[in-house]
């Protein structure tokens, strides 16, 4: 009986490991794990207006910029963990306060000492602060695509506007 129990436990463990391997293998094909970005209304126009195709018709960078676009204009859908709806239930979005050009100028003027915070603030620090203070959500890590892709969107727009470090409006 004891022996049977031991074999059953070993079999269960092997099945668990096997199941995990199959899950990770198959999981990579699921939409949640694919680096494809849902095209939202206005993306094609944005892409044309800001010359995103300079960086290629498709590719990792362009997809990240597209995700950045979705994050900025539909923050509640694409970063739900980091965004809480307003009191009346209206969705909040970065675009409610910032234009994409604001973000580009902010990007080229970041990494400077900010007296309001008493420290040097990177662009990512500002984005994280916005999620916490303006969007009233949780704070993403500095590596989170919800932060990174907004930076890449700002970089693409800054390129289109031919901005350099410290450019003023």
């Amino acid at each position: 009986m004891k022996r049977f129990h031991r074999s059953a436990r070993a079999a269960a463990l092997a099945a668990l490991i096997g199941g995990f391997v199959v899950w990770t293998h198959a999981g990579s094909g699921l939409p949640a794990f694919r680096a494809e970005v849902q095209p939202e209304p206005g993306w094609e126009r944005f892409r044309r207006d800001y010359g995103v195709s300079y960086f290629g018709d498709d590719g990792q960078f362009v997809r990240a910029v597209q995700n950045g676009y979705n994050l900025v204009f539909r923050t509640d859908q694409y970063a739900p963990r980091f965004t809480r709806p307003a009191a009346g239930g209206a969705p909040k979005a970065c675009a409610g306060c910032h234009s994409v050009e604001d973000l580009a100028y902010s990007f080229v003027n970041s990494d400077r000492y900010d007296a309001r915070f008493g420290r040097r603030m990177s662009f990512e620090d500002y984005v994280r602060h916005c999620y916490a203070a303006s969007l009233e959500g949780a704070v993403p890590t500095i590596y989170d695509p919800a932060v990174r892709d907004i930076r890449l969107l700002a970089r693409a727009v800054a390129h289109h506007l031919q901005l350099g470090e410290g450019a003023r409006r």
Binding site: Y113, R120, R148, H159, G164, G166
Partner: protein, 356 residues
């Protein structure tokens, strides 16, 4: 009951002590950020030329002199200026050889194994190499140009690689060292300096500039005579050994690095992009455009590839992802090969150039 209470009290006291210590360390770090920065001679000259000053609209004297007009850019605060100055010191003198006591350079050197490598060895001209007329040089690994082109897809890591993570890779592989935190002052100071360089040179976001990165040399850029170890060794002895040493282990005089190790325990490791077997185009490109110092662009593409191939066959540390067995193997080779080479080369007829 009493014992449990004491245990809890002791635990709380330890936690409070740790909290107090972290507050003290934060205050100490803030104090250091406010301290004036003693510049290296190279940085002092560079900032004089580029007109870095606090609290006034920045207009680059370099751009003004070359183009006749320069844009007005956002002023730097005193804190920004100190960060930029610290970043320059780190790049120019990573090991702190030029300072009796330097906090920012101590912080940088602890992420590097060995006491030879400095950012400036690859990013020459303190990350902004120019000729006598102030022209930026092709393939000179400019930090300013690298900043404006950061965030692109990197095939080696599979990431959209931010400037800060690229710096981490430099510390881990090119310096065979350790990974600093992305928010470490070290990384942020180097970023601040690189961003200032891009402002001083009027570089625009997302544009490619010739001085960015390496002017890579593929086999197809040669006459396809094959990368040759023997030719590489002869050339190394002729062109490189006088500075880098007969076995490429660097040349240090009175504690100061005259030329850094390019093989052996103080050199970059096997997962650095300088390693020929990992990326075969980068080290040849670096050699052609930046070596020998003062005679840049004098070697042919094939010669650069030969020398790079030879150097990469000398023993060096294993990369951070290659595991303990490879690390052990490389340690053994690094200890065994140099004495063997010394013995065999002393019993061998010298090259013609060695006789001279």
């Amino acid at each position: 009951m009493m014992r449990k209470f004491l245990q809890t009290a002791a635990m709380l006291a330890v936690l409070a002590g740790l909290y107090g210590l972290s507050l003290y360390k934060h205050a100490e770090r803030d104090e250091l950020r406010r301290a004036p920065v003693a510049l290296t001679p190279g940085c002092a000259e560079k900032f004089e030329r580029y007109g870095l000053a606090a609290d006034k609209i920045y207009r680059s004297p370099y751009v003004l002199a070359r183009a006749g007009a320069a844009r007005e850019l956002r002023p730097y605060s005193a804190d920004d200026v100190r960060a930029i100055q610290r970043g320059c010191n780190i790049v120019d003198d990573t090991q702190g050889e030029l300072a009796s006591r330097s906090v920012e350079r101590w912080n940088a050197a602890r992420f590097i194994r060995g006491n030879q490598l400095s950012c400036d060895h690859c990013h020459q001209g303190i990350g902004d190499k120019q000729d006598a007329n102030g022209n930026r040089l092709k393939g000179s690994l400019s930090l300013g140009a690298s900043w404006v082109m950061a965030d692109m897809y990197d095939r080696f890591t599979g990431l959209l690689l931010p400037f800060e993570l690229r710096q981490m890779q430099c510390f881990i592989n090119s310096s065979n060292g350790y990974k600093p935190n992305i928010s470490d002052d070290l990384v942020r100071d180097i970023t601040a300096y690189s961003r200032f360089l891009s402002a001083a040179l009027d570089l625009r976001i997302g544009n490619h500039y010739e001085e960015q990165g390496i002017d890579e040399i593929a086999a197809s850029d040669t006459l396809k005579q094959g990368d040759d170890y023997v030719r590489g060794e002869a050339l190394f002895k002729q062109k490189c050994a006088s500075c880098h040493g007969p076995q490429a282990q660097g040349h240090v005089v009175a504690g100061r690095v005259v030329a850094p190790a390019i093989a052996g325990p103080d050199a970059w490791n096997m997962q650095s992009r300088n390693y020929f077997y990992y990326v075969s185009t980068i080290l040849p490109g670096f050699i052609c455009r930046n070596m020998p110092l003062g005679q840049e662009n004098t070697l042919t593409n094939q010669q650069c590839r030969d020398v790079a191939y030879f150097i990469s066959n000398l023993p060096r540390p294993a990369g951070d992802k290659q595991g303990p067995l490879m690390a052990l193997r490389q340690q053994l080779l690094m200890n065994a090969i140099p004495p063997l080479v010394r013995i065999t080369s002393s019993s061998r007829a010298p090259f013609k150039d060695e006789e001279q």
